[in-house]
């Protein structure tokens, strides 16, 4: 499944081209789980001199996530989606595989030093959200400017009915906490279903959890779906549950709002909280299934509340556009 970072880069390339720039996407496969390979992968990026291609000069390099900003270019800017999160803010949580071991401490020490050095080469450092900028300052002492951008489906999302289901969209990985959404259904009215969009390494485990909780009939795992199907699912949902742990930015929030749907999120969900205001365009709950279930119950009991909150969310999300973003990046 294509994640938010890949969508972000593709959208940026499209926007650059629409504005008359010749833009190419440069990708190198990255395996975040292979800790002993992390710095070898960083070295692979460092070996890339992207100052020209096919004899043509390249005027600007826009790097996004670790370790793409290791690439060499005399005019480099970073629009940081995230760093290697397991070595930073996730370290010490269940979502990181870094421990108090000789190699892990050594790798983290190196990555922190190198991130600072490589980002220091950039003419400007931008981030996709305030949360990401805050991390850069906290962990690396790098000041960055948040630049919001709309999600790829922004122009196509629409509002529909407020049906009897909540929607959860995202990779089924531990840090996205699909289990919280599943468990919350045990605290929500029985006629409300949950539709889970997305795939990932935790899919089987999450499906099993729903089964074990006796919620199998109320939770539909539809896997990865195409844009049109996703737009339909958003359009007819009662609301969206989006409860990741310390998300960087989170397209899902904006996609829900652009579909006039309220978002139920958690107080530790990170960048999502830059958009969701409790009681105004959704609910900010404790990271607890019962609390999320109560929020869903409120929406289920009053679909006009869902619409009011969703409309407020739309106003917030509609203000996020590409206008000015490309100009800031190009400098």
């Amino acid at each position: 499944m294509v994640g938010g970072a890949e969508l972000h880069v593709r959208s940026l390339v499209d926007e650059l081209r629409q504005r008359g720039y010749e833009a190419e996407r440069v990708t190198v496969p990255f395996r975040p789980q292979a800790k002993p390979e992390l710095l070898a992968q960083a070295a692979a990026w460092r070996l890339l001199d992207l100052s020209s291609s096919n004899g043509q000069p390249i005027d600007l390099l826009i790097a996004t996530r670790f370790p793409s900003y290791f690439a060499r270019h005399p005019r480099k800017v970073a629009w940081v989606i995230h760093q290697h999160r397991a070595a930073y803010e996730l370290c010490g949580t269940e979502y990181s595989d870094f421990r108090h071991s000789d190699i892990d401490v050594g790798i983290r020490k190196r990555i922190i030093e190198l991130d600072r050095e490589m980002l220091g080469e950039c003419r400007h450092v931008f981030t996709n959200a305030r949360n990401t900028a805050q991390r850069l300052e906290t962990f690396n002492g790098v000041k960055a400017e948040p630049l919001y951008h709309p999600p790829p489906l922004a122009g196509q999302l629409r509002s529909g009915a407020y049906g009897a289901y909540m929607l959860m969209v995202g990779r089924l990985e531990a840090v996205k906490r699909p289990d919280l959404a599943i468990r919350s259904m045990a605290h929500a009215p029985a006629h409300i279903r949950l539709i889970v969009v997305g795939d990932g390494s935790k899919r089987r485990q999450t499906e099993q959890l729903a089964h074990d909780l006796g919620l199998g009939a109320r939770v539909d795992f539809v896997g990865a779906v195409d844009g049109a199907a996703l737009i339909d699912l958003y359009a007819n949902a009662l609301g969206v549950i989006y409860a990741p742990f310390d998300e960087d930015y989170g397209y899902v929030t904006l996609e829900a709002f652009l579909s006039h749907k309220p978002v139920v999120t958690c107080s530790d969900s990170g960048g999502t909280l830059e958009f969701v205001a409790d009681g105004q365009n959704g609910f900010v709950c404790a990271p607890d299934a019962a609390a999320i279930g109560q929020a869903v119950t409120r929406l289920a009991a009053n679909s006009s509340l869902a619409q009011t909150l969703g409309d407020a969310g739309f106003s917030r999300a509609a203000a996020v556009t590409w206008d000015g973003v490309v100009e800031r990046l190009i400098g």
């Binding site: 800790k35 002993p36 390979e37 992390l38 710095l39 070898a40 960083a42 070295a43 460092r46 070996l47 290791f70 930073y88 370290c91 010490g92 870094f98 421990r99 108090h100 071991s101 000789d102 190699i103 892990d104 401490v105 050594g106 790798i107 983290r108 020490k109 190196r110 990555i111 922190i112 030093e113 190198l114 600072r116 050095e117 490589m118 906290t138 962990f139 690396n140 002492g141």
Partner: protein, 395 residues
Amino acid sequence: MRISWFRATPADPANRLDDIAVLIGTLRHTHEIEVVTESDAHAFVWRQFLEPSDLCVYELGDGDAYRFIWPYLFHYPGVLLLRQTQVHDSRAASLEQDEQTGDYVTEFRFNHGHPPRPVGRLLPRGGWPMLRAPLLASRMAVINDAELARTLQADYPDARLRHAPPGVGWESGPESGSEPEPEFRPELVPKSGPQPVRFALFGAGRADVAERAMRRAAHAGATATIIHGESPADALRLCDVVLALAWPAAGEPLTPALAGMAARKPVVVFEVEATACWPALDPQTWRPRGLGLDAAPIVVSIDPRDEEHSLMLVMRRLAADTGLRGALSSAGHAWWQAHATARHATETWLRLLDEAHSLAPPTPPADWPAHLNADGTSRARAILKEMGVSVDFLP
């Protein structure tokens, strides 16, 4: 000076049985000290990058609780505060979490000059020192016993060993003698007859022996009891006699014994290397023994080979002999005032911290195990070497 002090537990200066917590509390008058425990050690890496400490202190013992400290003491060389002279098991626990069996074998050989017995996924536990690597990684190593410091320095001539006395309590604090009387505890008072003398036991694994000795003493007519179910601090406060019986002895500080002296309680210890120079009474003869024959005995010391019997003798005698209890507590208190208060520890540590700050970490020897300073670049270096190229961030 900004100091990061790694330890297994948070530092509560009010806990007089935690001599290092008291020391940290005192050193904070002159230095900025951040205590780093397992739960917040991950944050140390980026904090150290942004605002480096002037010095790191690693308080290392042999329990699992200390295992998280090892990677940091190798990556950020500082002062090694040895709480024991055998730290193998905490290192084994550290290496076991990532199944570093090969690294364990390499490190064991580096430390002891020979490989360990064959190992599996679960690493062995045992009484090995495993000290060479941490000693050679550190700017300085500190231990609370002067003789142990000399011995270790002789065993590891390339290390820098120093001695800092343990410090328990203040001359002007409650330990000065102004401590209130123990509170009245009805459950400790017998229904009738004389009040039993209360013994507090400090020493993991010695409870069974102490109980047997107490039964034998009671059978012989002693009116005494062992305090149960109290926190160490409460047991110290409520007791009449302190049994400071840590075994096996591996260089641990004698904090309960010193706390007992500070609290004016008679103290019973094992006769071990660390207590050999203390003026002591032998319970088998009730005559002075050890090196300090001229001084008034400050403790009763038990031969570990005759533990239960000697302990029974101690319980019988101290339960009955108020005068001896008083003499021991007075002499112990005076000795503590002269040698082992927090002031003694603090003065030494202030000097040692200054010295350590001025020292560079020792250069690792040629056979230094590579995994101790691994930083995740070995794979990249190997690939680049294969291709005959380099990148600027991997010199």
